[in-house]
């Protein structure tokens, strides 16, 4: 089934058209990658999908529900998970607490003033499981400020996965990762994609061609091509606009 349907999305900033009538869909169980040169408007697109920016025109449907005007937190509660290009965690807490916060929002209200969050065993278990999934189990009690950059990216992923979303919006999750870390993340995403729908914005072509069921190419806010990895590689427009003279990494 179609988890996410984007129709005619438009966003202007003054005279600049950042998103120029974008249509795309993400089916359950597929990984749909969005690639494009810098400045193509990929992060603006994700921000509109997550609700942080309001589009000027167009509609967004999430599992048959119109979410075009829903606030960020409501979309999150409906099952839209999002990771950030620039790591967006809580440095003053340890890794486990970070992930617990991610789960807390989805487990009832937070107008509890007395009982310590740390005492909620259910949250602790779930958070620990999420950390184990991304490979950070051993660093659960380390303050985030003491984590290496790659570990923080892993934590970022754990926080996105922990609440159990249905659709993942991943904004360049491999940015700044070492080769080993990227490979591990690719493995994780390959495992996960059947259980979720994933919209992946990435520059790492290796990962994209390995993981993507479909690829959309975004140039100047427009999708100039959408298809399988094979189709995209063969597409002349894409070659000129984005891949240029070089052969993509096979």
């Amino acid at each position: 089934m179609t988890l996410l349907a984007v129709t005619g999305l438009v966003k202007r900033f003054g005279g600049l058209v950042a998103t120029d009538g974008v249509d795309l869909t993400v089916e359950a169980g597929e990984l749909h990658a969005v690639i494009g040169p810098n400045g193509a408007g990929k992060t603006t697109l994700i921000n509109q999908l997550s609700g942080e920016i309001a589009p000027d025109a167009g509609t967004l449907r999430f599992a048959d529900r119109d979410i075009t005007h829903e606030p960020v937190y409501r979309r999150a509660l409906l099952g839209l998970g999002r990771s950030y290009q620039i790591t967006s965690v809580f440095p003053e807490f340890d890794a486990l607490t970070n992930v617990m916060l991610a789960v807390q929002g989805h487990t009832g209200h937070s107008f509890a003033f007395w009982r310590a969050l740390a005492a909620e065993a259910a949250l602790v278990e779930r958070a620990h499981a999420a950390l184990a999934e991304v490979g950070l189990a051993a660093r659960a009690r380390v303050p985030v400020a003491a984590l290496a950059h790659g570990e923080r990216r892993q934590l970022e992923m754990a926080m996105t996965l922990a609440p159990g979303p249905r659709l993942l919006l991943l904004d360049e999750p491999m940015a700044g990762m070492s080769l080993a870390e990227s490979e591990r993340l690719v493995e994780l995403l390959a495992r996960l994609k059947r259980s979720y729908g994933i919209l992946l914005v990435e520059h790492d072509m290796d990962a994209v061609f390995k993981l993507a069921d479909r690829i959309s190419v975004l140039v100047y806010g427009r999708v100039i091509a959408c298809g399988t990895a094979l189709e995209i590689r063969a597409n002349a427009d894409v070659r000129t606009a984005y891949l240029g003279e070089q052969d993509p990494v096979a």
Partner: protein
């Protein structure tokens, strides 16, 4: 096998220097009336009541300023509401403490809900400005209440009567204030580690992410704002009783500034810091004003110096050092 209990970096686990200082502070404050009567200086009870009252107000503001990053430059307005509730009711012959307290809390909650809803749509500097503006409005309102003293303020004939006890005795007033402060500190400690407190602290660091994690952040911040306002209201009730006077100056923006100075001086984002800061500032004021009426000329640059150098506050520095040591010990185990 269950997962290890998480620790957030703000909790020092061992008996560090900060805990000792906190114990000394609270223990010492408990003994003030005893010591004062022993050395025959009843004035100290009055002085320290003032310290406890401001420690209470500062602790209230700290909930949203230190833990929530909401820099309200208008919280002294709520102190004023508490004070004027006592004053106006007393003026009309209602000396019952419970009635005064109820009215103060009700009016305070109403103001906080409305003002908070308006102000929390902004953040950063705009938030500072708009809270300041609202405080000014309240200040002008108080001045314009000619019937209740206007510019000169309102005298209060008798202190609040709570039935089983009254606040007429300086010692009773002191201990009521002290118990309220201790209770507030204890409850704050629980709140800060509770679900609610963690949402607040998360919003302080990264509100955008909190929304993306499914939290309707405005709701929580508003509730925190109202709670902190009500603590200041209670401080205002006590202040009016202490001075037997309600003045517009309680709501002046300089008073809000003083509260912020106390919080930062002691240590923002710690439980005991604001109380320690209030004690330090008021004791300093007391000492300096004994030397010269122009002591403010020292206080001003001192504040600048504190901001430039001791950003964490003197108590905050201790807390941080203890937390670092505790973490280092855990790592080596």
């Amino acid at each position: 096998m269950s997962a290890p209990r998480p620790v957030d970096a703000a909790t020092p686990r061992r008996l560090g220097a900060s805990r000792v200082v906190a114990a000394f502070l609270l223990g010492g404050l408990a003994l003030v009336p005893v010591i004062a009567s022993a050395i025959g200086e009843p004035y100290y009870v009055t002085l320290f009541t003032r310290i406890v009252v401001f420690a209470l107000a500062a602790s209230g503001l700290n909930l949203i300023l230190g833990y929530g990053a909401m820099v309200s430059f208008g919280h002294s307005m709520y102190v004023g509401i508490g004070a004027y509730a006592v004053g106006i009711l007393a003026y009309h012959g209602v000396g019952n403490g419970w009635a005064q307290l109820a009215v103060a809390l009700l009016v305070g909650a109403l103001f906080a809900l409305v003002i908070g809803t308006v102000c929390l749509r902004t953040s950063g500097v705009a938030f500072i400005m708009i809270t300041l503006a609202f405080a000014q409005m309240a200040y002008f309102l108080a001045i314009s209440l000619k019937q209740y003293g206007g510019d000169d303020g309102l005298s209060i004939a008798a202190r609040s009567d709570f039935g089983v006890f009254t606040l007429e005795s300086n010692t009773v007033l002191y201990y009521v204030a002290y118990v309220l402060l201790a209770a507030t500190l204890f409850v704050s400690h629980r709140v800060v580690h509770s679900r609610f407190g963690m949402v607040l602290r998360g919003c302080r660091v990264n509100e955008r992410r909190m929304a993306a994690l499914g939290f309707p952040t405005l709701r929580y911040r508003l509730v925190a704002y109202v709670i902190s306002a009500l603590v200041c209201v209670v401080a205002g009730v006590l202040l009016a009783n202490l001075a037997k006077f309600a003045a517009p100056s309680y709501m002046a923006w300089q008073a809000s500034g003083d509260l912020i100075v106390m919080i930062v001086l002691g240590g923002m984002g710690t439980i005991v810091g604001p109380a320690a800061g209030a004690a330090a500032l008021l004791v300093l004021e007391e000492i300096l004003s004994g030397w010269t009426t122009h002591w403010m000329i020292v206080l001003g640059p001192l504040i600048v110096l504190i901001v430039l150098t001791a950003k964490k506050g003197f108590y905050g520095v201790l807390v941080e050092r203890d937390a670092a040591r505790a973490h280092a010990e855990r790592e080596t185990r």
